[in-house]
Point group: C2
């Protein structure tokens, strides 16, 4: 895809019949990061990386980024800040071979805000949606969950584009999305979009080392289910044979059921309870 830059907008020349995908995310100071403790470089990196994660979730490569920035009038050395911010975004653009094709910088009396819009094209024949899960599918995540905000992992995570590419090349993925608001909320969303339900195995849910070992098992599980900002992929496969012969870190967490919108968790004793959307606490 060719991208023309620097006009009222950018021109993308599509190949015949190809899908295009657009994702967008706005990140705000004191909500998605804290400028008092986070460098411009990490803010710029995260703003682009969360959108790359959305593209990975749809099994798409990025093509072009459009950046809008609101910068506080009171900021000291705004030019240095912007230059470090853009350098970090340009580094991801180099790494994943897309173009920073446009944008908009404004000064105002509010805090720092950044919006990134990314276009992409499918890695395979078409984008993978979250709505294609089928009863009987196995549910996987691409890595351990929980503790991302507290550990600052959310600022440095690697978007799972390569893993998505591996899946496109080696498996038939029925549904996929990224875990940004927490496994519990995001799995509910996938199940609702697919018209299915989910049965999670409590023992199958991988808990990240960033969740302190000193906490109780129940609290650690709750962190994995609802902390969010994990940016791992959640996906559904009918046939998982191929996953058994790879070194990539896939975790079987459960199964898709025909109970529309209902997610159930089974503990190690085989007892089942309904998982509310916000996650679930052992009583």
């Amino acid at each position: 895809m060719q991208v023309g830059i620097g006009d009222d907008g950018a021109v993308l020349n599509c190949q015949a019949g190809q899908q295009q995908v657009v994702v967008t995310d706005m990140l705000l100071d004191q909500v998605h990061f804290d400028l008092q403790t986070t460098s411009a470089a990490l803010v710029g990196r995260k703003a682009v990386a969360v959108n790359l994660s959305d593209l990975a979730a749809m099994a798409c490569w990025p093509t072009a980024a459009f950046i809008s920035i609101a910068i506080p009038r009171v900021m000291a050395a705004p030019d240095q800040f912007l230059s470090q911010l853009y350098d970090a975004m340009a580094e991801l653009a180099d790494q994943y071979r897309f173009t920073i094709a446009g944008g908009d910088t404004n000064r105002w009396d509010g805090p720092f805000a950044i919006n990134v819009c990314l276009t992409g094209v499918p890695m395979g024949q078409q984008a993978i949606l979250r709505s294609g899960a089928k009863p009987g599918d196995k549910l996987f995540v691409t890595g351990p969950l929980g503790g991302s905000l507290a550990s600052h992992r959310h600022l440095t995570f690697e978007p799972k584009l390569q893993t998505a590419m591996w899946l496109v090349e080696n498996a038939t993925v029925n549904a996929m999305m990224d875990i940004s608001d927490g496994l519990s909320i995001d799995l509910h969303r996938m199940m609702e979009a697919s018209g299915t339900g989910g049965l999670l195995s409590e023992d199958g849910i991988p808990i990240h080392d960033d969740v302190p070992e000193s906490l109780s098992r129940a609290v650690r599980l709750q962190a994995a289910l609802s902390d969010g900002e994990d940016f791992e992929l959640l996906f559904a496969l009918s046939d998982d044979t191929v996953l058994q012969s790879t070194a990539i870190d896939f975790h079987l967490i459960g199964y898709v059921t025909d109970q529309v919108g209902k997610v159930v968790v089974e503990d190690s004793c085989g007892d089942r309870s309904v998982l509310p959307e916000s996650g679930w606490q052992h009583s």
Copy 2:
């Protein structure tokens, strides 16, 4: 173009070989509007309309919009505000037949901010850029300039999509852009992008009725050159014969020259002076 909604991103199905265009603009409280005196409906309208104006400037129809919003925690009745904001955006989406295909709403401790990203497709064979003006071309604007902020015209203007369509169907436009920062700055941008210069006729520059008649001629002209937020189209034509047989309001303001990046204004006595980028005051 088909648009799929409500996943990690939106899927756009392009026709074979068709160009796609992406525009984006972030609008901020107290910069682009004042929420203390402006309704949610007018804010939503403007946020989409300025992007439609960018698409008109590239001679493109809109296909899909992606809206990101930061809403202050202290706002009274935020749900009502958001509903009025979205209704106004949906009205433009109905009028110009595009889809609101995605977005992101966040609450924070800052002021209200909104980012709109619009995709579009060329009305004709391809998008019209600002870089195609040729020495000898005539320069036109689509309406009178100045006084837009003071009169609140910037909140209610009609983006010039129909006018752009007429031009695509009836003329060969070498370069086009919209006037958002003021004729002076924007004409400089077009001339620099085209590797050309401009010769403006002072008498040809249409001054909007929103610029008070009580002001001096020089101050009124300065308003037309530099107030900005006009959202009229500025375009360059080699052959303007067709413009003479239409009721559409086109104003010949000057000519393209070969003096790269230099814009000169000629007054009614034939005296010429260089127009600085920020506009120009009679001494």
